[in-house]
């Protein structure tokens, strides 16, 4: 995550000039000059930096010349001391060899002890290996003000550096390429971490390969002013921390070779940029060409700033890559698409697309080829093809940061793949019961969380291109064909979104009061509920019900997730009025804006079913009834009435109804044997006119089994349980139906026994041959034994 911090304050005032105190020890022909500059750290404390330039051509310039022009960046050595001259914690040694210009950067990390320097005939010798070696093969760092960004940077890990480390240890190599003074790509390989012969496409468990590409339409390149104009990659300053994310990237790039006065440590930052608009990066745990993890992570700008308006992060693992979640032998991709609207600081929406799409064509980043899609085609690749498992999140009133949304997407966690890999039938629980977080602090559980104000929707059987729409009922942007969703309203309330009919739009909103259980689990108790079925709004609460036939059902407005700048602008325009929506805690008022007849009562709506053309509502009117519907004369005090609405004809009918009454008759097998599958069937009959549905559970001696069942009014059905009793004996079994009394009975299970003996079933040659051979062998042995002993005795 990017943290925007103040840039370091550079005073750059030369305070004093002095001859080097050890000039007498300098090699013949070499000279040195020390200058002192003052910097401030983030706390405002001044820090003096003593810069000593040593080299054969070091000469103090005249008045008005800059100190950095007194030496050169091809043969001289620059030694940096902090606070006092003996604190020599940084040195840059330049040389010009057959492989091009080279700069060796030495540091004593953390400023605990000084670099050990000696002067020899060849020049300054710095003890120990360098931390970085920067090489420009073409022979210059900067020419005519154009910076050369064709570099090779060798980085030796600080923890691995020993006195002989440079000779024996492999460096992390970063290759940088650029054009016209702008770095356009960078690739890096952590060679020391990669075991010999490590295959491509197999994640190691840590990042070993990285690449960055600057898109053609990226915002203009901006970088911090360098300390040495002749070596334009280096500067000294203060950042809040040593991690890359502490660089003030949204203002300008920090110098890639940056000595941070906080901790007195030298950092190597990306040359191209970090999570700013116009970047296309790969952060892989596997070697190219089959990279994994963040492959790619792309940042698109539509408003011209350095902050991205659309970010696409594809967390993907090729088949067989054990770094990803199980099952490992399939391609696994989770694409996180987040976008902003008019406010360039906050993310507003995100789609998280889980599926099996991989990359089948190679692209080039510098000298490296890898399987991916070009930056310009990535949004279409992500949003223009069908995905099986999709979540959509509206991020409250906006979420800051540079990487987009992390919440309610399942990235980097097993449950989505356990389900989408076909390993379980249970839909991941976080989709219906996410962790309800109060704040947006990022935790390891973000993938299964919804902070207050965030609304998440899902479909685990999507199999279509991602589509969005604006609902006229609640006035919000939704995922089309979502199976359900949750809106964390905070204060212990959630709005549960449901799709009862399986259509394009959500059709049920339930306001739940949350009771928190252990480990972040929760259960909701409905306070009120609103259904929109067949052009009728049905509101239910403890206080009563309200049935509202909409005179002219409003139409939904389709919107497309942004694939490019034009689509993004269309989305922003089309959804500008729909970021807040209808008040989620006042479901009863949602219908007020729609004209049409309303029937209300103090009783309750017992059940609602819809076939999309015919709507059935079973209602107990209660003591008070107000309003009416065409053709319905609902009297207070009636026990149960069935209201039927034909949406095509817009006609209502009413008939008296009775509650479901389920009768059970056992039809179990006569003989049940242990370890043998047997059918136990139960006949269910509904003697009421209202239909019934629920889960029928068989528990007890035969094991625990359950089956869904549905009975029409006055209907009957047979439920079959296939049981495989684990043990013989007898015991109780019970049949449990929701809302009904438990039915019990006793069953007897016959024991199972071993039947396999000498006879082996299905043998190719039967048992005659082995038996014969066995007999012959044993007989032969016995005879041999006795014969040999007899002969021996005879011979004696």
């Amino acid at each position: 995550m990017f943290v925007n911090l103040k840039a370091a304050l550079l005073l750059a005032l030369p305070l004093a000039f002095a001859s080097h105190p050890q000039a007498s020890r300098l090699p013949t022909g070499s000279h040195s000059i020390t200058v002192v500059q003052s910097y401030h750290n983030l706390a405002g404390t001044p820090i003096r930096v003593y810069i000593t330039i040593v080299g054969p051509d070091v000469r103090r310039g005249g008045v008005g010349t800059s100190w950095w022009s007194w030496g050169n960046v091809s043969t001289d050595t620059y030694i940096f001391a902090f606070n006092k001259p003996s604190n020599r914690w940084l040195a840059i040694k330049f040389s010009n060899g057959p492989k091009g210009l080279e700069a060796e950067l030495y540091e004593e990390s953390g400023g605990t002890r000084a670099l050990s320097l000696t002067y020899t005939r060849e020049g300054v010798k710095i003890q120990g290996p360098p931390y970085l070696i920067v090489r420009a093969p073409v022979g210059y760092w900067s020419r005519n003000g154009i910076v050369n960004y064709n570099l090779r940077v060798s980085q030796y890990k600080k923890t691995q550096r020993t006195r002989s480390g440079l000779q024996s240890g492999k460096p992390v190599v970063e290759l940088v390429g650029g054009q016209r003074g702008v770095p356009t790509w960078q690739v890096g390989l952590d060679a020391p971490a990669v075991p010999k012969g490590w295959p491509s496409g197999q994640g190691l468990g840590q990042q070993i390969f990285g690449a960055s590409l600057r898109m053609k339409d990226a915002p203009p390149f901006k970088s911090m002013k360098p300390m040495l104009p002749g070596f334009p990659y280096f500067s000294i300053g203060s950042l809040a921390g040593n991690h890359t994310a502490n660089g003030n990237w949204f203002v300008k790039n920090p110098s890639p070779l940056f000595f941070n006065l906080r901790g007195f440590s030298l950092d190597l930052f990306p040359f191209v940029g970090f999570e700013t608009a116009g970047l296309y990066t790969i952060n892989s745990d596997a070697l190219p060409p089959h990279t994994d993890f963040e492959s790619p992570f792309a940042f698109y700008a539509f408003q011209g700033g350095r902050e991205a308006d659309l970010v696409i992060r594809d967390e993907q693992f090729p088949p067989g890559d054990r770094r990803g979640e199980s099952p490992i032998d399939i391609q696994r991709s989770v694409v996180r698409v987040s976008w902003k609207t008019s406010n360039p600081k906050f993310w507003q929406y995100s789609l998280q697309l889980l599926g099996f799409h991989g990359f089948h064509k190679e692209i080039s980043i510098g000298p490296t080829k890898l399987y991916a899609v070009r930056p310009s085609k990535l949004p279409t690749w992500a949003l223009g093809q069908a995905w099986p498992y999709v979540t959509f999140v509206q991020l409250g009133s906006g979420y800051p940061g540079s990487e987009g949304n992390y919440f309610y997407g399942g990235q980097g966690s097993p449950p989505p793949w356990t389900y989408a890999g076909g390993l379980t039938t249970a839909v991941p629980r976080y989709l219906t019961h996410p962790l309800l977080e109060r704040g947006t602090v990022l935790t390891a559980a973000a993938w299964e969380s919804l902070p207050t104000g965030f609304r998440g929707e899902y479909s685990v059987a999507y199999f279509r291109k991602p589509e969005l729409y604006v609902s006229p009922i609640d006035g919000l942007v939704h995922l089309a064909y979502a199976q359900g969703g949750i809106w964390n309203l905070g204060g212990g309330d959630v709005l549960v979104l449901s799709n009862r009919t399986g259509g394009k739009t959500l059709d049920e909103w339930t306001l739940d009061r949350v009771k928190t259980l252990k480990k972040g689990n929760w259960v909701g108790t409905p306070l009120s509920q609103l259904d929109y079925l067949d052009g009728v709004l049905i509101f239910r609460a403890k206080t009563g019900f309200r049935i509202h036939e909409l005179r002219s059902p409003p139409k939904v407005q389709n919107v497309s997730p942004p694939k490019n700048a034009a689509a993004w602008q269309a989305f922003v325009r089309g959804t500008a009025r729909y970021s807040v929506g209808a008040p989620p805690t006042s479901l009863a008022t949602w219908g007020n804006k729609f004209p049409g007849p309303v029937l209300a009562g103090s009783g309750s709506v017992v059940k609602v079913t819809s076939t999309r053309t015919v709507l059935h509502i079973w209602v107990t009117p209660g003591r008070k009834v107000s309003g009416t519907l065409p053709g319905i004369d609902l009297k207070p005090g009636r026990l149960l009435e069935e209201l039927t609405y034909h949406s095509g004809l817009k006609t209502w009918t009413m008939t008296p109804a009775t509650l479901p009454q389920i009768n059970v008759s056992w039809q179990s097998a006569k003989f049940i044997s242990a370890n043998v599958t047997t059918r136990v069937s139960v006949r269910l009959t509904n003697s009421g006119t209202m239909p019934w549905s629920g889960i029928v559970a068989l528990t007890g001696f035969l094991g625990n089994l359950s089956q869904p069942a549905a009975l029409a009014g006055d209907g009957s059905t047979t439920i079959v349980f296939n049981v495989s009793p684990p043990r013989p004996g007898h015991g109780n079994i019970a049949l449990r139906l929701p809302g009904m009394r438990v039915r019990r009975r006793v069953v007897f299970v016959a024991p199972d026994s071993r039947s396999l003996t000498l006879i082996w079933p299905g043998s190719l040659v039967g048992d005659a041959v082995p038996a014969f051979m066995e007999g012959i062998t044993i007989l032969g042995l016995a005879i041999m034994w006795l014969t040999e002993w007899a002969r021996r005795e005879y011979e004696r």
Binding site: T677, G762, S763, M773, W785, A790
Partner: protein, 519 residues
């Protein structure tokens, strides 16, 4: 029989020796045909699989190589290439005979050194047939077909080096030592170290008892030549380890020894090793006791005789020949290695925890001639006693045959499978997606898959606790059902599944797909 005897006698082979071969081959025939050729177990399956991978890779070092030695897969693969016989067929139907013949040859070459000329050798060889452990070792498809003859022949050379005066003859035996040492360590590095350790200990015993041997028995032992033979064996073992070291070539020999002692040599966990001593494997504890009768009788008799020989020798009451001394010290050494293996097994350091079983095989090979030597020297060769002994040993042989074939009449775990099960296994492997199959409570059908269809991912899983939630295919057969009954495992609920395959003798059931991702 007469013709064979006549031919054999022309070649210097006695009629008894021919009969010994015939008995051995008959035993092997029974082993192969008990289940109509359809048998396998863990090591056999693993080596079929390894050999097929080796042939496919065209190299003895390949991903997934058997890191403890390439010898057996290379031999098996070579014979397969030459003969055109598929590796699984060769490993289960042909090599049991070769293993048996090699062992008998090595035994007939070794035992005459230790025992007086005559029938003691044949009786000793036949006594081995009462030790089921030894026969299972050479009949099943693993590297010990090579290790047993190599170790026996190495000790033949060792005995000869100690007595042969002529330098040229000694050189010949050094070559034998080098060859057996190399083959032994290439077949399995543990047995390379084992043989080196055994020979070193025998030499140390000989060296320390040298004065006593010279004075008491008048033996003039060439200690330098013996030391050279130990050096040859140790050197070739070291060379073999260095030449085939797929894991790490830079480790010192000490680290190698420790490592291989710790890691052992099995290709995987010996799920179906019938000699794992687990009483639960047999129908009752008393059956387990009776099945070990031959082993314990030989151990008891040989130990009593060995202890009496050692006691009398130390007291100076008996004289020993050089070969007898080697037999005595070898018995003590290999017994010591069995004893050492027990705590290693108990400590859980060794993979498979069956080191003492492995070591016992070699111990039994020297216990047999010691047993017969003891019996020959006592007065129990009266005819009635002989008859009793003969009948007793015949019973042991018979029980051993049941034991090594894990006969269902006495064993709760089986190594046989039916053609229908094989067909069902192949069907599953050909049509499997990303899922695993449940194949009963043990690893029997997994072994079938690995042995008969090498190269296919191991996807038939044993389930000791019944079906697991992530498995969707279930192989069922009457034998699988028997196994669930015996293991007390809950049978999967096949009634709630789709039967997607049925060949009459085996079925595959599949859980009914519930989500769009389950196919």
């Amino acid at each position: 029989m007469t013709r064979i005897s006549r031919y054999a006698s022309m070649r210097g082979v006695s009629r008894s020796e021919v009969a010994c071969y015939l008995v051995g081959l008959g035993y092997a025939t029974f082993f192969v045909l008990r289940y109509g050729g359809l048998w396998t177990e863990n090591d056999t399956a693993q080596f079929s699989d390894t050999t097929m991978h080796m042939l496919a890779a065209g190299s003895i070092v390949f991903p997934g190589t058997y890191v403890h030695g390439f010898g057996y897969p290379a031999w098996l693969g070579m014979v397969s290439l030459i003969s055109g016989i598929p590796v699984p067929v060769l490993n289960t139907l042909v090599f049991p005979f070769i293993g048996m013949a090699l062992m008998i040859t090595a035994v007939l070459a070794t035992y005459p050194l230790f025992l007086p000329k005559g029938n003691g050798v044949i009786v000793s060889a036949l006594t081995l047939f009462a030790v089921a452990d030894v026969l299972f070792t050479v009949l099943r498809g693993n590297h010990e077909k090579l290790n047993i003859p190599c170790i026996l022949l190495a000790f033949v050379a060792f005995v000869n080096v100690g007595t042969v005066g002529e330098k040229r003859a000694r050189v010949r035996w050094y070559i034998v030592l080098a060859l057996t040492g190399l083959i032994n360590v290439w077949a399995n590095d543990y047995f390379g170290v084992y043989m080196t350790a055994a020979m070193t200990i025998v030499w140390l015993l000989t060296w320390s008892a040298g004065k006593h041997l010279r004075q008491g028995s008048g033996l003039r032992i060439n200690h330098a030549a013996l030391l050279s033979s130990v050096a040859v064996v140790a050197g070739t073992t070291l060379l073999g380890l260095m030449m085939f070291s797929p894991t790490s070539v830079d480790e010192t020999i000490a680290v190698q020894v420790v490592k291989h002692l710790a890691n052992l040599f099995t290709a995987g966990h010996p799920i179906s090793n019938p000699l794992k001593t687990a009483n639960a494997q047999w129908v009752s504890p008393s059956v387990a006791l009776v099945l070990g009768g031959g082993r314990w009788t030989i151990f008891l008799v040989s130990f009593v005789w060995w202890a009496s020989r050692v006691w009398r020798f130390v007291q100076g009451r008996i004289q020993l020949t050089w070969a007898q001394w080697v037999l005595i010290s070898l018995y003590g050494t290999l017994g010591l290695l069995v004893a050492v293996a027990i705590p290693i097994d108990l400590s859980g350091l060794a993979l498979g925890n069956n080191l003492e079983v492995r070591n016992f095989t070699y111990f039994a090979l020297v216990a047999a001639p010691l047993t017969v030597w003891g019996l020959l020297q006592t007065r129990i060769q009266q005819r009635p006693l002989m008859v009793v002994l003969g009948v007793l040993f015949s019973i042991f042989v018979f029980l051993g045959q049941l034991k090594i074939t894990q006969d269902p009449s006495i064993s709760n775990q089986w190594m046989g499978y039916t053609p229908a099960e094989k067909q069902a296994t192949l069907y599953f492997l050909q049509h499997r997606g990303v899922d695993l199959a449940w194949g009963g409570p043990d690893g029997r059908l997994l072994d079938v898959a690995v042995n008969d269809y090498p190269g296919v991912p191991w996807s038939i899983v044993p389930a000791s606790q019944g079906a697991r939630p992530f498995e969707f295919d279930y192989l069922n057969s009457p034998i699988v059902r028997e196994a669930t009954v015996l293991e007390g495992v809950k049978m999967p609920n096949f009634g709630a599944m789709d039967r997607i395959f049925d060949d009459g003798g085996a079925q595959i059931y599949r859980k009914v797909p519930v989500t769009p991702y389950q196919r």
